[in-house]
């Protein structure tokens, strides 16, 4: 891990999503790999541009859902046949059709919780501090109406002067240096 000191990266600000997407495509084509875009709403094209195509949220959801289903169904079976068998209108203790409804609900419950908390965990949230918040223009625009491309210092191609000049060629509104 690099020490969290010095420069985090260079942040270029754009006015429109199209400008951002073009810049991100260019940077990716020029070999940049440690880069990210920041937008006030989901811009799918920008994610495609930086090579982020698929994520693990669906897998986590599937696992969570299956675990919820298995947990509830086996609990119902255990309670109804072993722990507390009751004769309800002469029905068998293992009356599985009646167990489907709670198992179904728990499938949805645990799948939903896995989707939500899995997404947050994969995103590394909550993370109340981030170096980008130090950039003077980031908080004015990133959640309102501006579009940002950040080339990170961890990329081997990063050089404070050259990268700044490189970003300037993409016609951003501004390029600022972001410190840790």
């Amino acid at each position: 891990m690099p020490s969290p000191e010095g420069t985090y990266g260079l942040l270029a600000e754009f006015d429109t999503p199209s400008d951002l997407v073009r810049a991100a495509q260019q940077a990716r084509k020029d070999g940049w790999r440690r880069l990210d875009c920041y937008t006030p709403y989901p811009v799918e094209e920008a994610a495609e541009a930086i090579g982020f195509h698929r994520n693990k949220v669906p897998l986590l959801t599937l696992i969570g859902g299956m675990m919820g289903c298995a947990a509830m169904f086996s609990m119902e079976t255990w309670i109804s046949t072993v722990a507390y068998p009751l004769n309800i209108g002469g029905r068998p203790t293992y009356s599985w059709p009646a167990f489907i409804v709670p198992a179904y609900e728990w499938t949805i419950l645990w799948a939903g919780l896995s989707a939500a908390f899995g997404m947050l965990a994969l995103n590394g949230l909550p993370q109340l501090y981030h170096p980008l918040f130090n950039a003077p223009n980031f908080r004015n625009g990133a959640t309102t109406d501006k579009f940002f491309l950040c080339l990170e210092a961890l990329d081997p191609k990063f050089n404070l002067v050259e990268t700044k000049a490189y970003l300037e060629t993409m016609a951003p509104t501004s390029v600022v240096e972001v410190d840790y």
Partner: protein, 472 residues
């Protein structure tokens, strides 16, 4: 297309389609953000809000009084007895949870169908869902008689080794409603995280920055985050859709599984779900129409929304009408003496007035008028219709619960049902609680999802590379 003939020069109409615009003309990322965040981030609380909050808070206090007295005296203070052992509590439970269903329909099902017009109304429809579920969930709990033992409903390892009975629809209800409440809260909160980020960045006061900063969990809008977020939202929508259908289905099982004329019918699940959506859309209109007026949100909640909600109500209203028709048909076709008596008694017995109120409010008034586009886009008329349907749907549950029970198989055990003041106070109290929670939501949380509105603005369109230099 008819719109063009009605108001040819209305700026609210998109000339390309002849439909009302989803978002008013000339809105930008900034104007939308400013409009919505200024409602919350102002230190000035509108006087009207305070006045309403006072009234609603008074209502919530009535609930507190009613429930306190109930806990002291027991459910005997209500009108429930034999033969009507399920009274207002179950009526209100079903009514409230049905209202909640429209919120999930708007936020989940319409998201899956890519109906982008839903974006403006989805957030407060979800909030409505949650507050309605809060009110609904209370009723079975206070109806059990010893609410402090309510945790017995859950399969918890007790020292006395007593476990719940999983073959009962009443227990299925516990899991259906608790799952519904949890998933709705998670979906709602998740949707607000990016908007909390906006509030954090736009807040002037330190306290608001901390408050919304904590709520936003440090959201910074990275596109990687956004993509996972979108996946999670879609998955939650996909999960909430079967969930919402299952919740009211399970609630209808509470009735349909009982071998009782008027309840024991297979039409109940679809008819309950359609009725839930019908009443829920009515409640969304009841809330949306005053909100857009008081907060000047006509550019974001346009006639298009009101019109579309009217259409959904028309469609679900007809499913409900089919349900009523089927009940009457089966009463005759089943050739069961008990079924036909129950139906005759429901319509022409001493409580027949409730059945005809329901027919008037749910079928006669809305299903004849909602066909007209002119009326569907008439705001005051739609507000009136929404109130009528809310009343009608409450009476539907009243009819199902009370008129099926009060004259059963043995004439010697016939009775009647007359709600006590505590029944009324509890019901009015939940209206107060619901309104109180909703007012707090409007004041402190983003009531329209800013990030979703930005997505559907024309400036969000990505122009192809060829356009560089030519267009901009």
């Amino acid at each position: 297309m008819a719109t063009r003939e009605v108001k040819p020069n209305d700026p609210g109409i998109d000339p390309a389609t002849g439909e009302f615009r989803v978002v008013g003309l000339g809105q930008t990322f900034k104007s939308v953000t400013e409009k919505i965040s200024s409602i919350v981030l102002t230190p000035h609380t509108p006087l009207g809000w305070l006045a309403l909050f006072g009234i609603a808070g008074g209502g919530a206090t009535v609930l507190l009084v009613a429930v306190t007295w109930l806990f002291l005296k027991g459910v005997g203070i209500w009108a429930i007895t034999q033969p009507v052992a399920w009274g207002f509590a179950i009526i209100n439970f079903v009514w409230w949870i049905g209202i909640g269903h429209a919120g999930t329909l708007i936020s989940a099902i319409l998201l899956l169908f890519k109906q982008t017009w839903r974006n403006s109304i989805s957030r407060f429809a979800e909030a409505m869902t949650i507050f309605a579920v809060v009110c609904a969930g209370m009723f079975p709990l206070i109806h059990v008689g010893r609410p402090w033992l309510g945790y017995w409903l859950f399969p918890l390892p007790f020292t006395m080794n007593v476990w719940p009975q999983f073959r009962s629809p009443l227990l299925w209800d516990v899991f259906a409603v608790s799952t519904y409440a949890t998933i709705s809260v998670v979906f709602w909160y998740l949707g607000m995280i990016p908007d909390f980020g906006t509030f954090r960045d736009r807040a002037e006061s330190k306290a608001a920055q901390y408050f919304y900063g904590l709520l936003s969990w440090g959201w910074r809008g990275s596109v990687r985050h956004w993509m996972r977020y979108e996946t999670a939202s879609l998955l939650l929508a996909g999960l909430a859709t079967p969930l919402v259908l299952s919740v009211h289905t399970v609630i209808s099982f509470d009735f349909a599984v009982a071998v009782l004329p008027g309840w024991h019918t297979t039409i109940f699940p679809p008819y309950f779900v359609a009725g839930a959506i019908y009443s829920g859309f009515a409640m969304v209109l009841t809330l949306a129409i005053p909100l857009r007026k008081f907060y000047n949100l006509e550019q974001l909640v346009t006639e298009r929304h009101i019109d579309n909600m009217g259409k959904v109500m028309l469609a679900t209203g007809f499913i409900v009408a089919y349900g009523y028709g089927m009940e009457a048909f089966m009463a005759w076709y089943s050739a069961s003496h008990w079924e036909s008596f129950m139906f005759w008694n429901r319509a022409f017995g001493p409580m027949g007035w409730s059945y005809w109120t329901l027919i008037l409010c749910n079928l006669a008034i809305p299903l004849t008028t909602l066909w007209s586009r002119k009326l569907r886009t008439n705001i005051s008329f739609m507000f009136f219709i929404s109130i009528v349907v809310n009343i009608g749907m409450w009476f539907e549950r009243f009819v199902i619960v009370v008129t099926s029970l009060y004259r059963d198989f043995l004439p010697s055990s016939w009775g009647t049902y007359r709600a006590t003041k505590w029944d009324y106070m509890t019901f009015v109290g939940t209206l107060g609680l619901f309104t109180t929670l909703f007012l707090l939501f409007v004041r402190f949380l983003p009531m329209i999802p800013m990030n979703e509105i930005r997505m559907i603005l024309p400036s969000a369109k990505i122009k192809p590379k060829a356009a560089v230099g030519a267009g901009d």
